[in-house]
């Protein structure tokens, strides 16, 4: 196996008419990678400041058939989830990520919501996850895997609800990478999700819900800090 490796690398060098790069050049290239400079970043989202950036995110997400509900505070989340499930005629059953940000939500405000914490299993129809960031440029959610954010929640159930805080909305993918790098190691999976699952494989007619979720519902909380006043809104 390592012999094959050497043969392939030797073949590359032969084609490029050189030997192995010298140490100085390798150091240069490693530094180039470590610097991970941004290439040209489109102005579309980058030029926008906060409220308009969030509006762009919402507009782009809705364009690709995600639904977006904006609520004022975390306290409003259980009511919105319950409302959404009822409106879509879905049972009030969901599995959610065992993530601290979701633990902090006051789910008892909606006791009829039956919520399981954990990864998704075959029979699950609705999941609820947080996100790591939301990319305004294309209405894309950035979710990362972790002990508290299992990725099966993003793909197995028919309906995926994602909790997004306005302060998680960034302009570009590069902003997402910057945030991720301050987070530590690369997670096993970074899922950029832009709208629900779809296919155009039959006569190029777009159908939603190929293998992943048919519905993607985004609950966007304007203000993470707003305290609950016990009345629900």
């Amino acid at each position: 196996m390592s012999e094959t490796r050497e043969q392939i690398l030797a073949g590359i060098r032969r084609s490029l008419k050189r030997g192995r790069l010298d140490a100085a050049r390798e150091t240069e290239l490693r530094e180039h990678v470590a610097a991970h400079r941004r290439n040209l970043v489109p102005a579309r989202a980058a030029a926008l400041a906060d409220p308009r950036r969030v509006d762009l995110f919402v507009g782009m997400a809705e364009e690709v058939q995600a639904t977006v509900a904006r609520v004022i505070s975390p306290a409003a989340v259980p009511e919105e989830v319950a409302r959404y499930l009822a409106a879509e005629n879905l049972p009030a059953d969901l599995v959610r990520a065992p993530d601290p940000s979701l633990d902090d939500i006051l789910w008892d405000a909606r006791p009829l919501l039956r919520i399981r914490r954990g990864r998704a299993e075959a029979g699950d129809t609705v999941s609820l996850t947080p996100c790591f960031a939301a990319i305004a440029e294309t209405g894309t959610l950035m979710l990362i895997s972790g002990a508290e954010t299992p990725t099966t929640l993003n793909f197995l159930p028919d309906t995926h609800i994602v909790l997004v805080y306005a302060d998680q909305v960034v302009a570009t993918y590069e902003d997402g990478w910057d945030r991720l790098r301050t987070n530590g190691r690369m997670p096993r999976a970074v899922n950029f999700i832009t709208g629900p699952s779809r296919t155009g494989d039959i006569e190029q007619r777009i159908e939603l819900g190929a293998h992943g979720p048919r519905r993607l519902h985004i609950v966007l909380v304007d203000d993470r800090q707003k305290a609950s006043d016990g009345e629900g809104k």
């Binding site: 073949g11 709208g195 779809r198 190029q204």
Partner: protein, 476 residues
């Protein structure tokens, strides 16, 4: 995969005579180009990004050995394994060995052109392992025992009635009188039939649109979610990829991702773009326990440093074939192998040899539409011309053709003779055809006159008329 590129002409005729294919190709021709155009119009920086993407790929190719080693380092650091393979045989052997090591019986597959290239599915079946294609298009053609006809929409050659017929024939446990008239119903059925397979799979195999050296990651760009279910649910995830998919950093990947979906389907971004790095981490509740990357060479390293190096920039978006009038006339199967359209016309001879695939770079008018939409600016017609130069040097063209060319060039190098012959031909043909103004048949020109008339020359050549007018003082 066995190549039938040699019989391109017969394949093409079959495609031209197939009304279902022609209907499907019409849909494609009116769909993809329009959608791409709208996406490009929405992104003012699109052209600038093409230039940057070209230079990112060129830089990476010029230092491919370095970036492969860095990539491998980072895969291992994140708990993954890297396998190197020079040939299809070696690739299949590695994949089989990994599957056997976990006693795999069912393997789900996201779309992988490399797997097609090495004929993986048949090989797994011969060795008692069941491969299940999960991308809807790939699943349909797997049931039909057909090869893919397009890079990203493998079943694009079918209309929904053919898909319905196939599902009815293959999904025998379902109610025979169920309706399958709508695409919606077909999608729902595929979803239901494949769900248990996703859950039962021991190994999941995906391709890779990109590999990121900085982090040791692989990236898949999909819309269905099958790729993610394939790589998340089983115990083992195998990434099958060729060497040239590397990019240096996550930022470089972002630049290329901005071009990929827009060039392919006109989407701003695909529904699911997933960056995978190694197996599940301690404490994770899901994810594969093993992450393997199989790096295939199969002729890529030989293209470096030569006149076909630019082809290695390809990011497999399919824009070229979506805009190609030849592809739109004959469909992807005519090309006879894994890769069709303009990129297939360049890549196929590199991988299976020009003597087997000579028709592909010849069946082009060099209209240049492919090059104009390629997100990484590959000069596809130029590469096809290079193949024609190889054929000419190796005398692979038909002798009659070579003789005609030789004669033409011989005369063209002798202006006096050339002018005399042109004047003669103009007079003779002009006189013969003077009544009707066009020929319905013409000796030696049957290829032309079989399907269209040949207009008659005016009877005198321009040069002879110009010389006369000069003598008359009417010109200069």
């Amino acid at each position: 995969m066995l190549a039938t590129s040699r019989t391109f002409e017969a394949n093409a005729r079959t495609g031209l005579a197939n009304p279902i294919l022609q209907q499907a190709l019409s849909l494609m021709q009116s769909g993809f180009p329009q959608r791409r155009r709208l996406a490009v119009e929405r992104l003012p920086e699109f052209e600038a990004l093409r230039e940057i993407a070209e230079s990112i790929k060129d830089h990476t190719l010029e230092h491919l050995d370095f970036y492969l080693e860095l990539f491998e380092e980072n895969v291992i650091a994140s708990g993954g394994q890297v396998h190197w393979a020079r040939t299809p045989d070696e690739t299949r052997a590695v994949v089989l060995q990994v599957c056997r090591s976990v006693g795999a019986k069912i393997v789900t597959k996201g779309k992988s052109m490399i797997a097609e290239e090495v004929g993986l599915n048949d090989y797994l079946e011969q060795n008692g392992i069941t491969p299940v294609e999960t991308d809807l298009g790939e699943y349909i053609i797997q049931l039909r025992h057909e090869p893919p006809s397009h890079l990203i929409a493998p079943a694009i050659h079918l209309m929904k009635e053919q898909v319905a017929d196939t599902f009815r024939a293959e999904h025998r446990s379902l109610d025979p009188v169920r309706s399958l008239a709508e695409a919606r119903q077909l999608c729902d059925e595929a979803r239901a039939v494949l769900r248990p397979q996703f859950l039962a799979a021991d190994v999941g195999i995906t391709g890779a649109n990109f590999l990121v050296a900085e982090t040791g990651s692989s990236i898949i760009v999909t819309n269905e979610g099958n790729g993610d279910l394939t790589q998340t649910l089983p115990r083992v995830h195998i990434v099958m990829t060729s060497l040239e998919k590397l990019v240096p950093t996550l930022e470089d990947a972002a630049t290329l991702l901005r071009l990929l979906a827009r060039s392919a389907t006109g989407q701003e971004f695909s529904a699911y773009t997933t960056i995978s790095t190694g197996p599940r981490r301690a404490g994770d509740l899901d994810g594969p326990e093993q992450y393997h990357v199989v790096l295939l060479d199969n002729g890529r390293s030989a293209l470096l440093g030569g006149e076909f190096q630019d082809m290695l920039r390809c990011i497999r978006c399919s824009a070229c074939m979506n805009h190609c009038p030849v592809y739109a006339a004959v469909g992807g199967h005519a090309y006879g192998w894994v890769y069709s359209g303009p990129m297939g016309a360049v890549l196929t001879p590199s991988l299976i040899g020009i003597s087997k695939a000579g028709h592909l770079p010849n069946a082009s008018t060099f209209c240049g539409r492919c090059e104009s939409v390629c997100p990484v600016k590959i000069p596809l017609p130029k590469m096809m011309r290079h193949w024609r130069e190889r054929e000419f040097t190796e005398k692979l063209n038909p002798p009659v053709y070579r003789a005609g060319l030789f004669l033409w060039a011989w005369v063209a190098k002798r202006p006096a003779l050339y002018h005399a012959l042109v004047e003669l031909a103009s007079r003779v043909l002009g006189w013969i055809g003077r009544g009707r103004g066009r020929f319905r048949t013409l000796p030696l020109a049957n290829g032309w006159t079989a399907v269209r008339d040949m207009p008659t020359p005016e009877g005198r050549s321009f040069h002879s008329l110009w010389a006369e007018r000069r003598k008359d003082g009417a010109g200069r």
